[in-house]
């Protein structure tokens, strides 16, 4: 057995930490990617985002890795997969429009969610899926709390029209 050098040992520790972090956040990131761009693109998005994060020279110094990964997924969607969910939205509209009782998802809302601008969609996901407060959403997305409130208000306004 060869002697492990200091850099090799450091690399192994780093990878071990990265793997643990990934295991902690993978399901949430995949759900986020699914809401942002649809299930068929989610795996690609998470894979690409994680690879970019791990390759980033600033990654080892990141203090909030969860938020960093969230932003990486949002950026990946922004760069490469913007149209995926809009397409899925059209399909949902075509697929059916049966309204259900209050509290149940309805196709119109799910389709309308898909048409929201990316940051609004991300804010909605973090608010209604992850149950984060506006200030926590702001920290996660790296934007101001005011901006989060604005995104949520506009998203709700759009979605309200779908129910009218």
């Amino acid at each position: 057995m060869g002697v492990m050098t200091e850099p090799e040992a450091g690399e192994r520790i780093g990878r071990s930490r990265d793997a643990a972090l990934y295991a902690e956040h993978a399901a949430r990131l995949t759900a986020l990617a699914t809401v942002l761009a649809g299930p068929s693109a989610a795996e690609d998005i998470v894979s690409a985002a994680v690879l970019k994060v791990l390759a980033s020279p600033s990654w080892p110094t990141v203090t909030k890795p969860g938020a960093y990964l969230t932003r990486a997924v949002v950026n990946e969607v922004h760069n490469n997969h913007r149209s995926s969910l809009r397409r899925a939205a059209r399909e949902r509209r075509v697929a059916g429009s049966d309204r259900t009782t209050d509290g149940d998802p309805i196709p119109e809302i799910m389709a309308a969610l898909a048409t929201l601008p990316l940051r609004q969609r991300a804010a909605v996901f973090l608010t209604y899926w992850a149950d984060l407060t506006p200030s926590a959403v702001a920290a996660e997305l790296g934007i101001s709390e005011g901006a989060v409130r604005k995104h949520l208000a506009r998203a709700r306004q759009t979605l309200r029209k779908e129910l009218a």
């Binding site: 990934y22 068929s40 690609d44 998470v46 690879l51 397409r87 909605v124 899926w129 309200r160 129910l163």
Partner: protein, 389 residues
């Protein structure tokens, strides 16, 4: 109800939003595995399948005629400073915002790989290295061949690819949205490093066979500019359509054209002291590098013209003086092919480029340039083969 009481409609919206987001999130697939160590460290070159059926030959060739020397580069192995990487992100930018674009046709579109998951692990691509590509032809017909030569292919659906290192392709069967490669030929450059992936990852070797192989069927799905090839769980290649099969050129594109067997272009780089006319070819059939050069009899280092194989056609290209109005290629059998004369932008010496598609494999040929009155300016003669250089 007071002003402070929650609005019923707002509460209903909250409930529906909550339920809708959770329903959407429930559609999430299983998270992809943590990237394998080799995917991170750039040691995943083995992902590029190297089937024994591949034949050794040249691939995408880049040949440059410079002011003083001939440069031949095979762009198969690693990044080239001549044929720059085709950057899908740049291609996307060039294509403008994606929006809700109509689906690109599967057949006939040049696809550039943007991501890949092979054996369950995402593949890392290296910035600056040429991305893998793929093209699928619904029906391909053997072109008419020059006298004495026969078309080695067979009519039918075909695929061709660049895996980040090698070019290849073969026939395929098509049933609905399922394509199954039936055979494969191509180059066998010994590349190493990350980012080498071909549709050939679908190759399934028959244990104990002597080179025979079967190919897994792959399904394709197109969403706008995006193509996903899948051969089951953990085997997925994602491409983006591009209108430029070459990627961004290093210099000014003097000519870009397509023949029956491949796309090619001439690129002029200058006038910075490294001026040169480069040939870049992309073949859609088993390629063969073959270039004969015409050397100035007074200066053995000065190259004026060359031929480069493009499938089973050759392209002759070169530089002639600015006063040249026409040029002619002549082979040993007496065949004459007029060359297209094209001004070169920003060449301080005012030279012009000449090019034409000529019969494949002419070992002996000349290029003669003439002025507007038909007077001979100069003649270059071929001086051997570059094969193996």
């Amino acid at each position: 109800m007071t002003d402070d009481a929650p609005d019923e409609a707002e509460l209903a919206l909250d409930a529906r939003l909550h339920a809708s987001v959770h329903r959407l999130a429930q559609e999430a697939p299983a998270p992809p595995p943590f990237p394998a160590h080799d995917a991170l460290s750039g040691r995943n070159g083995a992902r590029g399948v190297r089937p024994r059926a591949l034949v050794a030959a040249g691939a995408l060739v880049a040949i440059a005629i410079t002011a003083g020397a001939l440069v031949v580069r095979s762009t198969g192995d690693g990044p080239s400073d001549h044929v720059r990487a085709s950057d899908p992100e740049q291609a996307e930018t060039a294509a403008g915002p994606e929006g809700d674009r109509p689906d690109r046709p599967f057949f006939g579109t040049h696809w550039v790989m943007v991501s890949a998951v092979v054996d369950g692990a995402p593949v890392r691509f290296v910035s600056g290295r040429k991305r893998p590509t793929a093209t699928f032809d619904e029906w391909w017909t053997c072109p008419a061949m020059p006298s004495g030569q026969h078309c080695a292919g067979s009519d039918g659906p075909r695929y061709s690819f660049f895996d980040g290192c090698n070019h290849g392709g073969g026939t395929m069967a098509v049933e609905g949205r399922i394509v199954t490669p039936l055979g494969m030929g191509g180059t066998a450059m010994g590349c190493t490093g990350p980012g080498i992936v071909a549709p050939a990852f679908l190759l399934e070797r028959t244990p104990g066979s002597t080179g025979s192989a079967t190919f897994a069927p792959m399904s394709y799905e197109i969403s706008g500019e995006r193509l996903v090839l899948s051969a089951g769980p953990g085997q997925r290649l994602t491409y983006r359509a591009t209108d430029d099969p070459f990627g961004p050129p290093d210099g000014a594109v003097v000519v870009q054209d397509t023949t029956a067997t491949g796309d090619y272009r001439l690129v002029w780089e200058g006038p910075d002291g490294h001026t040169r006319l480069g040939f870049e070819g992309k073949v859609r059939r088993t390629p063969e590098l073959r270039a004969a050069v015409a050397i100035d009899p007074l200066d053995a280092q000065k190259v004026h013209a060359a031929t480069a194989a493009l499938g089973w056609e050759d392209v002759v290209f070169g530089l002639v003086p600015g006063e040249a109005a026409s040029a002619v290629y002549r082979n040993g059998a007496g065949l004459e092919v007029p060359l297209t004369v094209t001004p070169i932008p920003d060449d301080p010496t005012g030279r012009r480029s000449v090019h034409a598609v000529v019969p494949s494999g002419d070992a002996s040929w000349t290029v003669s340039a003439y002025d507007a009155d038909g007077g001979l300016i100069e003649t270059f003669a071929s001086a051997g083969s570059l094969s193996g250089t």
